[in-house]
Symmetry: C2
Subunit: 225 residues, 2 copies
């Protein structure tokens, strides 16, 4: 089946590094779903303002070309990267059809502009969106259910420090989002070098930080020219 | 993007008539997801036995050819069929990319056979499945959220009677599934003819029933030859 994008996702995060590892874990992170011109008449989003969440079905467009194709197992970062599980028991981007699925909170709907402002998405800037569906609690929400290896291996959140005087360089919500992003520990698995300076690109800002043990410190925030 | 089926869904329901209108509303209804041969090695489902639910991303293969294409609004049966809402505020099968999304309960996983037995699906027999993902509660479950027109317009369940002596013609679970299917009122919207006999095809059985007011009665169950 041939599927075509219906929308594009816009986010302050343009690269894979720093992206939330799942939807909902960085709730302060804002972005917008923008319908393609042919869906922008104002009709396609009518009634969506009465929902709190939507599903996005989207494409993993940042996948490395050809990698993972045809593989039936993956090594989730949550398992330390050295244990293999079946691709259909994981949410890995490397899967037979590279489709992502994320529930995100609606902040506001602008039908006439074809825009949905959302929070908590794990999509990078420029991600093609193939479908938007309303989140329906009675069919989509299950509580007290077993979630396999995800239950057994939680992420440890990092403590976060911001060097004096830097906090003002970002707006309040932006600083919150940046702190939540870094506290989820965006390092590649197994990397542990306290000397290393990491760079998070957030919108028009470069955020430098390092990690000592369980604490991350933001050491610089620079506007990109 | 070109996507290819990874599995096929097998259900006792081969037609659109009688299909649950959403996943989860007919919990006794069983079916199986069967991986295509290239995914059947036993690896692709490894670890899935530790999850209670999966997501299926599937194709609405029973859509009437060409119908609904390019339309930006739909008329949900739940709204009586006479009110239009945006296609992205609905779960209608008639959408720009005819992709369905359903969370279904895992009954058992058979990795070496490439089979997942499930309950509560709203997919017809033969439906192509494009992706299988584990249901992850912390990311996928939201409670107390607004679900738009779905909250305001509930389905009325029908009372169900089974004519004496017919119950034994089906197994216990099958009878339960058939009763749940009919009690969700599978009639097309606005149809209200107490004389009419409806036929539900369930596996190798034809189930005849009629509906008076708020009560459905199963009047015959015949094995199809």
């Amino acid at each position: 089946m041939e599927i075509k994008p219906v929308a594009v996702y816009h986010s302050p995060l343009k690269e894979k590094f720093g992206l939330p590892r799942q939807s909902g874990i960085v709730p302060a992170l804002r972005g917008r779903v923008t319908l393609l011109p042919e869906y922008k008449s104002g009709d396609a989003l009518r009634g969506l303002e009465d929902f709190d969440y939507i599903w996005l079905v989207w494409g993993f467009h940042l996948n490395r070309e050809g990698s993972g194709e045809g593989r039936l197992t993956v090594r989730p970062p949550r398992l330390g990267g050295n244990q293999r599980i079946g691709v259909f028991a994981s949410r890995s981007p490397y899967r037979p059809n590279p489709l992502g699925l994320s529930s995100v909170r609606i902040v506001s709907v602008h039908p006439e502009k074809g825009i949905i402002e959302v929070e908590g998405a794990d999509l990078a800037d420029g991600t093609p969106v193939y479908d938007i569906k309303p989140y329906v609690e009675y069919a989509d929400s299950h509580r007290g259910v077993r979630s396999g290896f995800v239950d057994k291996h939680s992420w440890e959140q990092l403590e976060l420090r911001v060097k004096d005087g830097l906090g003002d360089r970002l707006g309040e919500n932006e600083l919150k989002a940046v702190c939540e992003l870094i506290s989820q520990d965006p390092r590649p698995r197994y990397q542990n070098d306290p000397e290393r300076i990491y760079h998070l690109k957030y919108g028009s800002f470069d955020v430098d930080f390092n990690i000592f043990g369980k604490t991350a410190e933001i050491i610089d925030i620079r506007k990109i020219r």
